[in-house]
C-alpha cells in the first residue's frame, strides 16, 4: 500500500464498511437504537466540521448550530415545498441535491459571516458567532412560509445509515488529508501563532475563511440529514445550547484531533440515552445529564486539559513499546 493512495484506500474501506454494515443493522436493530446510531453519526459530522474551525485553525466559533439550521431549512424546504416526495433512485438523487444545496447555502453564509468577523480574535469572535447563531434562529422564527416557530413538519424520511456515515467518511477523508497537506499546515500555523504565520507569507485571513466555509458546509449537510430524519425541524432545535453541545464535543475530544472529537461526539450523544436506563432511587439519571456533563468537563479539564485524544500520536504511542537505537548527532555545516 503506497503512501500516495493510502487515504483513498481508507476512504474506500470506510465506504464499503458503511454499506456492508447497513444491511445487518437495518435487519436486526430496532428503530429506537437506529435513531441513536443516526444521531451519533450526525453529531460526529457536526463535531468534525467544527473541529476544522475550532481545532485546526484555532478560531473559537459559537455559532455552528446556525449553519446547521441554514442547511436544515434549505434542504427541508426544497424537499417539501419544491420537489415533493419521490421514490427509488429519483429519491436518492433528489436527496443528494438538497443536501448539497443545504451545504452550499450554509457555506455561503459562512463566507459572508467569516470575511468581516474573522478579523476579530478570541472572545470577540466567539461573541460575534454566538450573535450570528441567535440571529439565524430569530429570523427563521419569523419567516411564516417556513412555519415560523412551529418549523417545517412532514419532511420525508430520506436519511439512512448509509447516507449519514457515508458523508462522515468523506468528511474524515477531507479533514485528515487537509491536515497533512499544504493547507492544513497553514491552518495549524495560524492556530499556533498568527504573527509568525504572516511573517513567513501565510495569508492567515484566507486560511481562516476557508476553514470556516468548509466547516459551515458540512454543518449545513448535517442539518439536512437531521431534518430528513426527524421529519420535523423547529428554530428551537438550533439554539445556543446546540452550538455549545458541539463545542463541548470538540473540547472533550481534544481540539484538532479528528478521532478524539468523533469519540467525544459518540459518547456525548449516547450518554443521555444510557443515563435514561439507569434508575437511582426512583429518579432517572437522565434528569441529571447536564450535571453529569459539567462534572465530566471539570474532571477532564483537571486531569486531561488537552482532551481525550488531544496530542495523541499513534506512531509515537507505538514507539513507546519499541527500544529505539540512539541516532547520531549531525554536525552543523559551520561551527
Amino acid at each position: 500500500m503506497s503512501k500516495k493512495n493510502r487515504s483513498y484506500i481508507y476512504l474506500l474501506v470506510g465506504l464499503v464498511a458503511v454499506v456492508g454494515l447497513s444491511f445487518p443493522l437495518e435487519a436486526s436493530v430496532n428503530s429506537y437504537d437506529m435513531r441513536i446510531i443516526i444521531n451519533i453519526g450526525i453529531s460526529m459530522i457536526l463535531a468534525a466540521s467544527l473541529n476544522l474551525i475550532n481545532g485546526f485553525t484555532g478560531q473559537f466559533s459559537l455559532g455552528h448550530a446556525g449553519f446547521m439550521a441554514i442547511g436544515a431549512y434549505t434542504a427541508s424546504a426544497l424537499t417539501t415545498l419544491v420537489f415533493g416526495s419521490a421514490e427509488g433512485v429519483t429519491q436518492e438523487l433528489l436527496f443528494l441535491v438538497v443536501l448539497l444545496a443545504g451545504g452550499i447555502t450554509a457555506a455561503i453564509a459562512g463566507l459572508l459571516i467569516g470575511i468581516p468577523s474573522l478579523r476579530l480574535k478570541g472572545d470577540y469572535l466567539a461573541i460575534v458567532t454566538l450573535g450570528f447563531g441567535e440571529i439565524i434562529r430569530v429570523i427563521l422564527q419569523n419567516i411564516e412560509p417556513l412555519g415560523g416557530s412551529l418549523g417545517i413538519s412532514g419532511i420525508p424520511r430520506y436519511t439512512t445509515f448509509i447516507w449519514t456515515f457515508g458523508i462522515l467518511a468523506v468528511l474524515i477523508f477531507i479533514s485528515e488529508n487537509l491536515m497533512r497537506s499544504t493547507y492544513g499546515r497553514g491552518f495549524l500555523a495560524t492556530r499556533d501563532d498568527e504573527i509568525a504565520a504572516e511573517s513567513v507569507g501565510v495569508n492567515t485571513t484566507k486560511y481562516k475563511v476557508i476553514a470556516f466555509v468548509i466547516g459551515a458546509f458540512f454543518a449545513g449537510v448535517a442539518g439536512g440529514l437531521y431534518g430528513h430524519y426527524n421529519s420535523l425541524i423547529r428554530p428551537l432545535d438550533f439554539g445556543f445550547l446546540k452550538s455549545v453541545e458541539i463545542v463541548v464535543m470538540v473540547i472533550l475530544g481534544g481540539m484538532g484531533s479528528t478521532w478524539g472529537v468523533l469519540l467525544a461526539a459518540a459518547l456525548l450523544t449516547y450518554l443521555p440515552e444510557a443515563l435514561r436506563k439507569i434508575d437511582l432511587f426512583g429518579v432517572s439519571l437522565s434528569d441529571f445529564r447536564m450535571t453529569i456533563y459539567s462534572l465530566a468537563l471539570i474532571l477532564l479539564m483537571i486531569f486531561r486539559p488537552q482532551g481525550l485524544l488531544g496530542n495523541f500520536n499513534p506512531k509515537e504511542f507505538a514507539g513507546r513499546f519499541k527500544k529505539n537505537g540512539q541516532s547520531k548527532k549531525s554536525k552543523p555545516a559551520v561551527s
Binding site: 487515504s7 488529508n177 497537506s181 499544504t182 500555523a189 513567513v200 492567515t204
Partner: protein, 254 residues
C-alpha cells in the same frame, strides 16, 4: 541600487514618538546592524518594515517598490523574512513542519490539490521535503526534524526560526536579537552562521543586537537609534568613537 530604502520613517503611538524620522539604506549582500539602548525603537522599525505596524509617516522602498500599506504576508512574499525577539515558532508543529510552512506560499498546491492529493502533489511534497532536509542539514538540525518545536533547546529554537525564515527564499533577512540568551561559544557559532547565510544564499542581513562583540564583529555598517531618532551611522570603527553614541550608552560625563 539599494535593496531597502527607508525615508523619514516615523511611528507615533498617541503622544509617544517611538521612531522619529529615520532614514537609512540597505545595500544588497550587506551585513548591517541596528543598535541602541533599550526602548530606542529598534523593534518598531522592524515591525514597520515587515508590515506589522503601519508607519505614521515616511516611506519604505523595497527593490524600488513601496511596501507601506502591504500586509505582513505580502511583504514576506516579496522577499523580506524575519525572526522575533521572543522566539515565535509554531510550538505544536514538528521542526520539519515549522520549516514546511515557510514553503507554503511557493507551493502550487491549492485547496482541492490538498484534499484530493493527486500525483503532482506528491511530487511537489517530495521536492519540498528534500529542500527542507537540505536546509536542516546545513544548520545541524536534521536529527530534530520530527521533534516538536516547543521541546527544543533555546539555541536550537533560534536556529529553527532562522531556517523557517530562509524557507521563504528572502532577499533581506531581519534578525531581532539573535544572540540573546546565548553563551560565548554559541555566539561565535552564530556569527559564523550569519556570515555563512549571507555568502551562501546571497542575501542582505539586518540585525538588532545588544551584544557589541557580535555587532562589531560581523556588521559592515551600523546605525544607532536613541529615543527613536538616528544619532549615528557608519562603519563599526566610526560608530564606536562617535561621541553621541558614547553619550547615549554611558551618559554624559560630569
Amino acid at each position: 541600487m539599494s535593496l531597502l530604502h527607508i525615508n523619514n520613517l516615523t511611528m507615533r503611538f498617541g503622544g509617544l514618538t517611538a521612531v522619529d524620522a529615520v532614514t537609512e539604506t540597505i545595500e544588497p549582500l550587506s551585513l548591517a546592524g541596528l543598535i541602541g539602548p533599550n526602548g530606542a525603537g529598534k523593534t518598531t522599525v522592524f515591525n514597520m518594515i515587515t508590515g506589522v505596524y503601519q508607519p505614521t509617516e515616511g516611506e519604505i522602498l523595497f527593490d524600488a517598490l513601496s511596501i507601506v500599506g502591504s500586509n505582513p504576508h505580502e511583504i514576506a512574499n516579496q522577499g523580506i523574512a524575519r525572526t522575533f525577539q521572543n522566539i515565535r515558532l509554531f510550538p505544536s508543529l514538528s521542526v520539519f513542519d515549522n520549516v514546511r510552512v515557510g514553503f507554503n506560499n511557493a507551493s502550487k498546491t491549492g485547496l482541492f490539490g490538498s484534499i484530493l492529493q493527486p500525483g503532482r502533489y506528491w511530487t511537489e511534497e517530495k521536492e519540498i521535503a528534500d529542500k527542507i532536509d537540505h536546509l536542516l542539514g546545513m544548520f545541524g538540525l536534521l536529527d530534530n526534524r520530527q521533534e516538536l518545536a516547543k521541546n527544543l533547546s533555546y539555541g536550537d529554537q533560534r536556529r529553527v526560526e532562522i531556517v523557517r525564515a530562509m524557507a521563504t527564499d528572502p532577499k533581506l533577512l531581519l534578525l531581532d536579537e539573535p544572540a540573546a540568551g546565548m553563551n560565548p561559544t554559541e555566539k561565535v557559532e552564530l556569527m559564523n552562521l550569519i556570515r555563512y547565510l549571507r555568502d551562501e544564499f546571497k542575501i542582505a542581513i539586518l540585525l538588532i543586537e545588544h551584544d557589541m562583540k557580535v555587532v562589531m564583529g560581523i556588521c559592515e555598517k551600523i546605525a544607532v537609534l536613541d529615543h527613536g531618532a538616528k544619532i549615528a551611522s557608519g562603519t563599526p570603527e566610526e560608530v564606536k568613537n562617535n561621541p553621541e553614541v558614547i553619550k547615549a550608552y554611558l551618559g554624559e560625563s560630569g
